[in-house]
């Protein structure tokens, strides 16, 4: 299956109204406005807290904002023709076989271990219930169903009718050339809430969910390659924090602190 999606094809896909036509393999996972706002505010607070020092101001200027603006401009251009749906796509190479990566992802209960905005996913009667942390402490919950499942190759799902943020997505598991494990390609679509205004806002921040998805995939890679999500002294906190040991007591080595505070 061709993993390369052209820009033209993208906009066609994005412009499909949800839910997708019957038989379509494009189905989704929820990426809410929640994470857009969370990530946006994380970067905002990172910027304002650190305006004090020249070094960090430079960092934000050069690394974060500059990079984000560039990506955002590209994303905005790509999504200009969309009728309201947002597409996010990322790819990563994981030094494990497609079968191992597929097995891990196929058990949807694993997703909160690396997808930072998810609190839990439970599976029952062929469907699943997803709980996500929204902005200002709001919890979003929706039901989803798997719509395509080709062992070791492809997995797709979508939210059930009635979800506050209709969404769908797919994951492809391909052999990475040169015995480099699995080339994992993830594509997510979601319909932002709040009508045209909300859609415009979400599009404006189009690059941020992409960064979040990339961080999520890096955590998945860490889990599958090293056994768990790696924490640093700063990343165990949700917001910006000096790189010094925390005075809080962290028990055990679970992944519950794996929410990297960018």
């Amino acid at each position: 299956m061709n993993a390369i999606v052209t820009a033209k094809k993208n906009s066609e896909l994005v412009s499909q109204r949800l839910p997708p036509p019957a038989g379509s393999s494009w189905v989704g996972v929820g990426l809410g406005l929640a994470e857009v706002v969370l990530l946006g505010s994380a970067i905002q607070s990172y910027r304002s807290r650190n305006g004090r020092t020249k070094g960090t101001a430079w960092a934000i200027g050069a690394a974060a904002v500059g990079g984000l603006m560039a990506v955002r401009a590209r994303s905005a251009a790509r999504q200009r023709h969309a009728l309201g749906g947002i597409r996010i796509a990322k790819s990563i190479t994981i030094n494990r076989s497609p079968s191992e990566v597929y097995e891990y992802w196929r058990d949807l209960r694993h997703l909160p271990a690396f997808i930072s905005y998810l609190e839990s996913v439970t599976v029952d009667h062929g469907q699943s219930t997803w709980r996500a942390k929204g902005p200002v402490g709001v919890t979003l919950e929706w039901r989803a169903e798997v719509t395509a499942d080709q062992r070791d190759e492809h997995l797709a799902w979508r939210s059930m009718p009635g979800a506050s943020i209709p969404n769908r997505g797919q994951v492809r598991f391909a052999h990475a050339a040169g015995n480099r494990g699995t080339q994992l390609s993830v594509e997510l679509f979601y319909e932002p809430p709040g009508g045209p205004l909300g859609a415009a806002f979400a599009r404006l921040l189009g690059a941020l969910p992409a960064l979040q998805l990339e961080s999520d995939l890096r955590r998945l890679k860490q889990i599958l390659e090293t056994g768990e999500v790696l924490h640093s002294d700063a990343s165990i906190h949700t917001g910006p924090h000096p790189a010094r040991p925390s005075s809080q007591k962290f028990a055990g080595t679970s992944t519950k602190f794996g929410k990297a505070g960018i």
């Binding site: 020092t53 690394a63 974060a64 990079g67 890679k221 056994g227 924490h231 002294d233 000096p242 007591k249």
Partner: protein
């Protein structure tokens, strides 16, 4: 515990902070006995490295005693005496399996930010900004060491801390600089910078068979050290002579077969280009100041190698690409893949081929870290390398 914290530009303080804890299964907690201030720490000190936060614990050259290990560490136990390599590396990813541990794909939790600056992310590094992970450093009484099952090297009791401490960074870094030069018998290697990495790069070039090793700096005491202890056969003080002309003379007009930039982004020099770099750096138009690198490229023999061991963080201007292309030069660089050099270099130390402790000029208690940074930064009191004793 006590730890050396970065509080702002040219402001480091030893503060009381929380003790580190095991956060991942493959972590160890090390009680630091000796730790050193690296030349690259001066780039942090001087505010050139982005994404430092007030309160960050500094230090990536350290060694000590294992106090505690996580359930995933079976090769170390409490009481082991270890030197810890400065790149944090998982040992499982494709980069680590190739031996290029400073390119570890899993050890930088802020890889997404680093990618925006550099295109792709390198490994995480202790005490070296949030772009490189936000890990607390080792200029402290205790430090958390992730992936302790593959990083720390146990060292024999008969070798002193001073003899093995630099296996953590600068000895492998200098050695890798010399190794990148592919030195053949009879060749001439020139090293820009007689700081700790330059000294050990020169010494390594000698170990690897260079006929002649020429060290370039502006501090007579450092050049003297290179001549008497560091393996240099010749030295050039760039404040007294023209470096290009001097190298032409020393090499019969060929230029050095390979050149090592052991200076990095804060190099000094003369003339209009230096003034322009300094001005642009002050205005934040050009993050890095590449005088030594430009000179190394100009001086290098046709078909030679220019190896960059010094640290650069961002962008440079007026890069002499014409010299590189038209004269078939090879540029090589990289943060050191320290893991792969530690054992062989320990063996060289044990065999008495080299004792890297010759660079140490100052030993201070950890509590005097701020003084150590000042001595090193201002090159006061003949300062070459500061070791802090944490225990």
């Amino acid at each position: 515990m006590k730890a050396t914290c970065w509080m702002g530009k040219r402001d480091v303080r030893v503060e009381t902070v929380a003790d580190p804890q095991i956060l991942n299964a493959r972590d160890a907690i090390v009680r630091v006995t000796s730790t050193a201030i690296c030349g690259s720490d001066l780039h942090l000190y001087n505010g050139f490295i982005p994404s430092m936060e007030c309160g960050d614990v500094l230090g990536h050259e350290f060694m000590g005693e294992v106090m505690e290990v996580g359930p995933g560490v079976t090769n170390l136990r409490a009481g082991d005496r270890v030197v810890v390599p400065f790149p944090i590396a998982c040992g499982n990813c494709a980069a680590c399996l190739r031996g290029t541990t400073s390119l570890c794909e899993n050890s930088n939790p802020n890889a997404v930010l680093a990618e925006k600056l550099w295109g792709h992310s390198p490994c995480g590094i202790y005490g070296y900004s949030h772009l490189l992970g936000g890990f607390a450093g080792g200029q402290a009484e205790y430090v958390r060491v992730p992936f302790a099952d593959i990083g720390p090297l146990k060292v024999p009791a008969h070798l002193s801390d001073e003899q093995v401490l630099f296996l953590s960074d600068i000895f492998p870094t200098g050695y890798m600089g010399a190794e990148m030069c592919d030195i053949e018998p009879g060749e001439v290697v020139a090293v820009w910078g007689a700081g700790p990495v330059g000294q050990l790069a020169a010494a390594s070039a000698k170990l690897l068979g260079a006929e002649r090793v020429i060290v370039i700096d502006r501090f007579p005491y450092r050049l003297q050290m290179a001549l008497t202890k560091g393996g240099a056969t010749d030295v050039i003080n760039y404040e007294q002579v023209d470096v290009y002309e001097a190298l032409q003379e020393l090499t019969g007009g060929r230029g050095p077969d390979s050149c090592i930039d052991a200076v990095g982004l804060e190099s000094h020099g003369h003339g209009a280009m230096y003034a322009m770099d300094r001005t642009k750096q002050a205005l934040m138009l050009e993050p890095d100041r590449p005088l030594a690198l430009r000179q190394a490229i100009r001086c290098c023999a046709n078909g030679g190698v220019v190896a960059i061991s010094g640290v650069y963080g961002g962008l440079i201007d007026n890069f002499p690409i014409g010299a590189v292309v038209n004269r078939s030069l090879t540029l090589r660089s990289g943060q050191c893949h320290a893991h792969r050099y530690m054992k062989p270099l320990l063996a060289r130390i044990e065999r008495g081929e080299i004792d890297p402790s010759f660079i140490i000029t100052h030993q201070l208690p950890l509590s005097e870290a701020a003084k150590g940074y000042e001595l090193f930064h201002k090159k006061l009191d003949g300062c070459e390398k500061v070791v802090l004793k944490a225990a």
